[in-house]
């Protein structure tokens, strides 16, 4: 009995004075990952959208995303950061099966209206013209030994039934937009008013109140075989203007854009990305992540897809 009491007292004392909270033991994360190529390749049959291939690579856990660069320009030291993701010395070849097209690395591309073609590979010639139904392939190799290939089937050119559209669009109108069916391909319809790009699009309908034009901006994902959409501008928000009403009127146009895409493009950007995105991984400490999907790419991750466009615009009337 005495031994029991002494043992308990000792244990109580020990438990009270000792610090048993284990200290965190930090260790470096060792990941058995060899970098691989991460490709974004888009073939476009449209004259306004340039075909391009972005060649990036994955980074190991111990690699920084940016490389510190020091340049001397006109005697001044200029510090900048270059992305380590970008592969600048790859050999990129896109092939139709009968002809190969060598893509060149460009830091930036002239006449790039949206400014999204920088540090990318483009074809400088004029004869790149993918046609619907053609199978195109991609080959990427790097001096470091990384390589990847890709394949895409060019979708049919989308066709809006423009003759069935009205001559103009009234802001309170309901309009049927129709197009030619593509039984094997997804499409995407985007509608937006031109003046919204300049934030110059108040639509006053009542004195003292202005309505946001956001209701023009709408998008519809089109399943294979679908051919019609009833479009109507939404009233998104009502705001009360204090002071003078804005009676400024500017000519405006309703832009309708119909885009066709191959299965790779649809899977990467729509089915598993964008609004349909379903993050594969989420962690309190690491945030969100993914295993790196690939559609149309072998030997690496990313996407090699092809798209087509048809466009129309209508004057907007009030």
């Amino acid at each position: 009995m005495r031994q029991f009491k002494i043992s308990c007292l000792f244990l109580l004392f020990w438990a009270c004075v000792a610090d048993f909270s284990p200290e965190l033991e930090w260790e470096d994360v060792q990941a058995d990952h060899e970098p691989e190529l991460n490709i974004l390749g888009i073939l476009s049959g449209d004259s306004l959208v340039t075909s391009f291939v972005r060649v990036h690579r994955t980074l190991r856990v111990d690699e920084a995303a940016d490389i510190l660069m020091r340049d001397t320009i006109f005697g001044n030291v200029v510090v900048s950061y270059a992305s380590r993701f970008v592969v600048r010395d790859a050999e990129v070849t896109v092939s139709s099966g009968t002809k190969d097209y060598a893509f060149q690395f460009m830091k930036s591309v002239e006449n790039d209206e949206r400014g999204n073609l920088y540090e990318t590979y483009v074809y400088k010639g004029e004869d790149l013209n993918p046609q619907p139904g053609e199978k195109w392939t991609l080959s990427v190799t790097t001096p470091g030994g990384l390589s990847a290939t890709g394949e895409t089937m060019v979708p049919p050119v989308p066709q809006l039934n423009k003759e069935q559209l009205p001559d103009s669009f009234n802001i309170n109108q309901t309009m049927n937009i129709t197009w030619a069916a593509q039984p094997d391909n997804y499409q995407l319809v985007n509608v937006r008013n031109y003046q919204s790009y300049f934030f110059n699009d108040d639509y006053d309908t009542e004195e003292g109140k202005s309505y946001d034009s956001c209701g023009f901006w709408q998008q519809l994902a089109v399943s294979p075989g679908d051919t019609a959409w009833t479009y109507r501008r939404d009233i998104c928000e009502e705001t009360v203007s204090i002071g003078e009403t804005n009676d400024y009127e500017t000519e405006d146009f309703l832009l309708i854009n119909l885009m066709s895409m191959d299965r790779n493009y649809h899977n990467y950007f729509l089915k598993y990305g964008g609004d349909g995105e379903d993050e594969e991984f989420s962690s309190l400490f690491l945030g969100q992540g993914g295993s790196g999907r690939s559609f149309g790419i072998q030997g690496g991750i990313g996407i090699f897809g092809s798209i087509g466009f048809d466009r129309h615009y209508l004057p907007i009337t009030r």
Partner: protein
């Protein structure tokens, strides 16, 4: 045709003999308390007529010849009793037994008659736990049923903070947890650290890890049926218990005798007391008194059970369980501001309140009727209500004065999130021993469940109130089941259990049939071979994220009409050996596969319908299927100075979702070893040393591999745009493993007496070696402090329980 005629002849002969043969039936009870003694062996001396008492202590002996018979009742731990009776031809005699407990000095006993169970029960994978077994293992703070079950082979744990049961690849929602037959939907306290069952009130817990018979249905995984004590029919007694977490009290006794009725009652309650102690200290503090702050959390539960024998053949049992976890925060403040320059004065009151109760409320009424000695009818009506209700309010109001102007304001925001599951069940069951060598059972169950999951926001000020109800999911489902089973003693060595369960689910148009097959073959009297096959449908599930590490509440809902019923197929093969000294050895192998499972998509939470945002986190699921297989060894010693068991499991579980392919779920552990022991210390009287060792393979996790850029497309009417954003690159889901798990707990318990009242005191050490068992990994970037350049990633294990000590006292009166 000939075989059919032979069977018919034998059947008719048995009916004829049955009319001539006598029957003896009755109840076997503990003489001191009146509690039924299940699995007591009752036999006729110098004959091969015998039977084991069922869970109610009821036995039936049939085919007795007329004349004097010596009937014996025997079970280990009790003195054998023999009664001589004279039966007439065709007589049905009622003969009850009351056995006296015999305890050898320094030895503990297990009253469950392992030998009888091995001979009588056909289904494998079944373990019965009594209160002594629950007390065998050192407890985490206090004895807990689920934590003891977690140490059986085939049962996996998620982590130290969860008492949830993952059984042979099944998740906790696939297990049917019952208390006195009532379904319990959220059987946890303190976010899963404890189960909701007060071990003091438990008589026994019947655990089927798989292959359970047709009388159970509606779940794909395991069955845990907790039977509460009935109460002492002879005298009033009780016990009180205090540990570091809660205080408990139990009282039981006979019901008042009224018009020849007899019965018993039991009341048990438990409550945490930390809040009371801390609040008592806080009352002395001016700041906390003014703000109204109190320790915000407590849990309680209480159970009532009343048994009433209206006549020797009719018994009514009322059972009730109420248990809640409550989180309450209520703070308020009062402030005054004055600005001299602008002559602005404001008097402001603010209040912040959270009320969050969650728990189970159940009630049931059971009527047991001995229609005849061979026919027992049991009817049961029950309600089980699980709810959690998170209610948060933030309010600010005040008045202001500026110069000659005055004003008042009031802003209030409230948020309500609730899930209510209301289960009403009506059930009836018939057991019939009318045919030789057959124990027939059949029954029907009607279960109506209402689900109500909702979320409400309210913003209000003096002028305006905005109310949003973005989540509103209500559903009612009805499950109707018919079951039939026959335990057939084909020969003295071979027994078959054939059965089936026919189910109708109100949201589906088809009927579902679950066949069940069990076989037991006695290779020797102490060695048996068992086989079980069956299909198990389930019509409800939970919408909790699959990868959550800590689970506080469950979101239950019924399968919608457009979802097929989930089901699993079990195949189990096992061998059991029981030595003369009551050492049980069991080896089992199993295979299960699951179809039509659904896993909550852990992504988009908001969807837009017309022009309103709706929060619908439970409407997107991944189609899932799974399989599990394994091999288990159990070595159990049930009597003597040393008791306990050693369990080893080799298991693999995999699930499949299209986006991940086949992967290991978080609860998959390849190897698990559990050693649980309790030994009476010879040199110190009435002192027991207990130990529990758990070692297992590490759990799966998804490893980070590096970084990559995820491509994003912006589709616009004018010109599309493509860009990339940095994203974490991870390996395949759960393709890596945390380090292995190891934990050793030890305990000391001593029994004493104070003022002639027996009491126990115990001290327990959890994780004696202070082994760091990782819950998950915490990550940080390594950066160059001067340039900010990333140098890599480092990680540290977030630990589960460290070493700590608990103690407590228990007194009986």
């Amino acid at each position: 045709m000939k075989k059919f005629n032979l069977l018919l002849f034998l059947f008719l002969i048995s009916v004829v003999f049955a009319q001539e043969a006598a029957t003896i039936s009755g109840f076997v009870r503990d003489d001191a308390s009146g509690e039924p003694l299940a699995y007591t062996n009752v036999f006729v001396k110098e004959s091969n007529i015998g039977s084991a008492a069922n869970i109610d202590g009821y036995y039936v002996l049939t085919n007795l010849s007329a004349g004097t018979q010596e009937v014996v009742a025997s079970i280990i731990g009790y003195g054998m009793e023999t009664k001589e009776v004279n039966v007439q031809a065709g007589q049905e005699l009622r003969l009850d037994f009351r056995l006296k407990r015999t305890v050898l000095e320094g030895e503990t006993i297990d009253v469950f008659g392992e030998a009888q169970k091995m001979r009588q029960l056909v289904e494998p994978s079944r373990v019965t736990l009594d209160m002594r077994t629950l007390e065998t293992a050192p407890a985490f703070v206090e004895p807990d049923l689920f934590r003891t079950v977690q140490m059986l082979p085939g049962v996996q744990t998620l982590n130290d903070f969860s008492s949830a049961l993952y059984v042979r690849g099944s998740t906790p929602d696939q297990n049917l947890i019952m208390m006195d037959g009532i379904t319990i939907y959220n059987p946890y306290h303190l976010g899963g650290i404890f189960s909701t069952f007060n071990t003091d009130a438990i008589k026994e817990a019947d655990f089927h890890a798989g292959g359970f018979p047709a009388r159970y249905g509606g779940r794909m995984g395991a069955i845990l049926n907790v039977i509460n004590r009935e109460g002492n029919t002879e005298k009033f007694q009780g016990s009180a218990n205090i540990s570091l977490v809660s205080s408990k009290i139990l009282m039981e006794g006979p019901t008042p005798k009224f018009m020849k009725t007899k019965g018993s009652w039991m009341v048990a309650g438990r409550r945490t007391y930390f809040d009371q102690i801390i609040n008592a200290f806080l009352r002395g503090s001016k700041e906390t008194t003014e703000s109204g702050f109190k320790f915000p959390y407590y849990f309680y539960d209480y159970q009532i059970k009343v048994n009433l024998d209206l006549t020797p053949d009719h018994r009514l049992t009322y059972s009730r369980f109420y248990g809640d976890d409550v989180l309450e925060i209520n703070v308020s403040g009062n402030e005054e501001d004055y600005d001299v320059y602008s002559d602005y004065y404001e008097n402001r009151k603010s209040r912040f309140k959270i009320e969050w109760p969650w728990g189970n409320h159940t009630n049931s009424l059971t009527w047991r009727w001995l229609v005849s000695p061979k026919l027992v009818a049991r009817s049961f009506i029950a309600s089980s209500r699980y709810r959690f209700h998170f209610d948060m309010t933030a309010q600010e109001e005040g008045d202001w004065r500026m110069g000659s102007e005055t004003g008042t304001y009031r802003d209030q925001f409230s948020f309500d999130f609730f899930d209510i599951v209301d289960d009403r069940t009506l059930e009836t069951e018939l057991s019939w021993h009318g045919i030789n060598n057959h124990q027939l059972m059949g029954g029907a169950q009607l279960k109506r469940v209402n689900y109500n999951l909702g979320m409400e926001f309210e913003f209000s000020n003096l002028d305006t109130t905005i109310f949003l109800n973005p989540l509103n999911m209500k559903d009612q489902t009805v499950e109707t089941s018919l079951f039939f089973q026959d335990k057939w003693d084909v020969t003295s060595k071979l027994a078959l259990q054939l059965g089936g369960r026919l189910m109708d689910y109100s949201l589906h148009d088809e009927l579902y049939f679950d066949p069940r097959f069990g076989l037991k073959y006695l290779l020797r009297q102490d060695l048996s071979l068992k086989l079980a096959l069956g299909r198990y449908h389930q019509f409800l599930t939970i919408a909790n994220p699959e990868d959550e590490t800590l689970r506080i509440i469950d979101f239950w809902f019924g399968l919608p009409a457009d979802r097929p019923a989930t089901y699993a197929d079990h195949a189990i093969l096992g061998v059991e050996y029981l030595s003369e000294k009551n050492w049980l050895f069991r080896a089992e192998t199993y295979y299960k596969h699951f179809e039509n499972l659904i896993t909550l998509k852990q992504g988009e939470l908001f969807t837009e319908e017309t022009d309103q945002a709706r929060f619908t986190p439970f409407n997107e699921f991944d189609e899932t299927r799974a399989y599990a297989y394994g091999f288990e060894l159990l070595f159990k010693k049930t009597a003597g100075r040393i008791r306990g068991w050693v369990g080893y499991t080799y298991a693999e579980t995999k699930r499949h979702i299209e986006k991940h392919g086949w992967y290991y779920p978080r609860y998959d552990r390849k190897h698990t070893l559990n050693i649980v022991g309790d030994v009476a210390i010879p040199i110190i009287k009435e002192t027991y040393f207990s130990t529990a060792l758990q070692a297992s393979s590490g759990q799966p996790f998804t490893p980070p591999l590096g970084r990559y850029e995820k491509w994003n497309a912006s589709h616009d009417a004018y010109m599309p745009d493509w860009s990339g954003y940095e994203n974490l690159l991870v390996g395949r889901k759960n393709s890596d493993r945390l380090s292995s798990y190891f934990r050793l707990d030890i305990g000391l318990k001593q029994k004493k007496q104070i003022f002639r009242f027996p009491y126990e005191r115990f001290i327990q050490l959890v994780n004696v070696t202070n082994h760091v068992n990782p819950l998950t990994y915490q990550y940080e970037e390594k950066t160059n402090k001067l340039t900010g350049e990333t140098l890599g990633l480092k990680r540290a294990a977030v630990p589960m329980f460290p070493f700590f000590l608990t103690f407590g006292y228990r007194i009986e009166f």
